[in-house]
Amino acid sequence: MTTAAAKSRMPLDPALLLVVPAAAFMLLLFVYPFLYGLLLSFNPKEGNWLANYRFFFTTDNEWPTIWTTLKLALPATLINVGFALPIAYKMRVKSRYQRWITTILVVPITLGTVLIAEGMLIYFGPKGWLSQALQFLHLYDGPIRLTHNYWGVLISLVISGFPFAFLLILSYITGIDPVLARAAATLGAGPKSQFRHIYLPLLAPGLAMCFCLAFVQAFSVFPSAILLGSPAGPTRVISIAAYEAAFEQYDYALASAIAMIMGLVQLIIVAAVLALRNVFYRGPVAGGKG
């Protein structure tokens, strides 16, 4: 009997049954609602099957929400990834301070968006500590407006998103064998060259992943856009548009269409970043046989 024949007669691995709960979970809680929403979005209250999408892209306070959201999510993601990278790079070496700094940087991840918003309203508000301190020290006497506008939402996205990006990048960096940097040093590479030629190229795929995850998180901003922004104007993000359609106009079909558009925009950005990732080396990051 050949091995191929033996294989084809092999009974089903019972361990595969372990997948069943997860698969059922996905079907019930993701695939079904998603397909339901997708079909619903093509069944508008009135007009033909594309009416909801036409409405969104032709109405003046609907389609610009895409840009409003992108204008918040992209800078927030760039700031988060951009600052997390050098700090995580510094934190890659075990030291006495490393654990403390890491802990302090990660704490905000445990705070909810609403808690962060509450704190920011008190701290950054027109009568908040920051404003009072600056005026008391005569550093800046004008009014400081960091809440109920674009900046409030951006700051809150950075506070809640940074620890996430930092932890992710830190785990990528510590996965790179430090002996590679030492090898580069013996070949004449100073600290800057070691980062540029060794760490950065090996990190690039991880950075792309981190960017995608942080971006998706920031793009679905909702509570802080309402609590810290001006939800009627500059921070009327796409999720607010969907919320209003669903719970103020009770037009679930339109809300579903907006959610689909939201998902599509995220998908386009993520696909673009992941395509870029393929340009880089994506193998193991060790230096040879262990």
Binding site: D177, V179, L180, R182, A183, A184, A185, T186, L187, G188, A189, G190, S193, H197, I198, P201, L202, F280, Y281, G283, P284, V285, A286, G287, G288, K289, G290
Partner: protein, 359 residues
């Protein structure tokens, strides 16, 4: 970068680590050594003896806790590794996984700002030296362990360093490849005419490669000498043990006559040569299994009778465990015809029985 150097001098190089309970200990204790151009030096010792620490200190990957390192008249222990310009071959190769073989090898030249046009022939030459021509566009992950090791060597030598440092470079290769690569390393060393410092725990490797061997234990140098000296005349019992003197018997000193010492214990009576001043009434005698022969000594001198309790066949001869009636165990290389439970008489030549103070 100096290429035409005369010697590298280590002057009481010391490195401390925080040990258990925060107590500092010397991983490397006052290593003093002068390496001449063209020399091949092996740092030999068991794991934890400080040999890798010494190499890292020379490379600049570890700061010294004391002492200094000189390349001719230039003090270099204060320079960072990228300013020293020594080539280093790491135990796990440490090839850059995202760079092709050619890019890996050219990395050191690129860091030195060598223009690409000058780089290509030098990389090609290095590839030829390690016999990897034709593999330059592969990634390290596509190479075998032996090929990766040779890329690592090419990468270290292409910058034409005054000194090449190798940290157990053969320990990840299989036995056959290890012997082949060993010969390669020796050949490359001769062709480059620089100095090589090579760390290993394998005495065969050290004996076959080195011009001089530095035997270390617990961070302290035990002996510096040519392979022949270290092999035949170990400076102390540690070195003897490490160099394959498997029979170490602790016995009573019966008589001292010049450097001849007569030792006694149970039914064993051995005369040997004193290598270190003795202290007290006890002493240790060290003998290699291959220097004990089955048979009678001249006039019955240094002849011990015993029963063969174990036989390990190894082709040309067998390794025998001979136990005397008082229970002393001797490892002996004997003829393959010897069988288990045979009663044999074995002879230890006086000048090959080395006597050291008991521990």
């Amino acid at each position: 970068m100096k290429h035409d150097f005369k010697e590298l001098k280590l002057d009481r190089v010391t490195r401390q680590f925080a040990g258990a309970g925060g107590k500092a200990f010397n991983a490397l204790d006052e290593l003093t050594l002068t390496v001449k151009r063209g020399e091949f030096i092996c740092l030999l010792g068991p794991s934890g003896c400080g040999k890798s620490t010494a190499l890292n200190c020379i490379a600049g990957l570890m700061q010294l806790s004391g002492g200094s390192i000189w390349l001719d008249e230039q003090r270099i222990d204060t320079l960072p590794p990228e300013k020293r310009g020594f080539g280093m071959v790491f135990q796990n190769y440490a090839l850059f996984p995202h760079m092709s073989v050619a890019k890996n090898i050219g990395f050191g030249l690129k860091m030195r700002g060598v223009p690409p046009a000058d780089m290509r022939p030098r990389v090609a030459h290095a590839l030829k030296l390690v016999q990897l021509t034709g593999q330059e566009h592969k990634l390290p992950g596509q190479l075998s362990g032996g090929q990766q090791q040779r890329v690592a060597i090419a990468r270290a030598i292409v910058i034409e360093p005054p000194l090449i440092l190798m940290d157990e470079p053969l320990s990840n290769l299989d036995a056959k490849l290890r012997i082949e690569t060993r010969a390669e390393i020796r050949r490359i060393h001769r062709e480059l005419d620089r100095a090589t410092i090579y760390v290993t725990h394998d005495q065969d490797e050290a004996l076959s490669l080195a011009d001089r061997i530095v035997v270390m234990k617990d961070g302290v140098v035990q002996q510096i000498g040519t392979p022949a000296e270290v092999y035949a005349q170990p400076a102390n019992l540690h070195v003897a043990r490490f160099m394959g003197y498997r029979n170490v018997l602790e016995l009573d000193v019966a008589r001292e006559d010049g450097d001849r010492v007569e030792l006694r214990g149970g039914d064993v009576l051995i005369t040997g040569v004193r290598k270190q001043p003795l202290k007290g009434a006890r002493a240790a005698v060290a003998v290699r299994p291959e220097e004990i022969s089955v048979g009678e000594g001249p006039g019955g001198l240094n002849t011990i009778a015993g029963r063969v309790e174990n036989v390990e066949y190894s082709g040309r001869d067998s390794l025998l465990d001979v136990v005397t009636s008082s229970g002393t165990l001797l490892h002996v290389r004997g003829p393959v015809t010897t069988a288990l439970n045979d009663i044999v008489r074995v002879y230890v030549p006086v000048e090959r029985a080395l006597v050291y103070p008991a521990e």
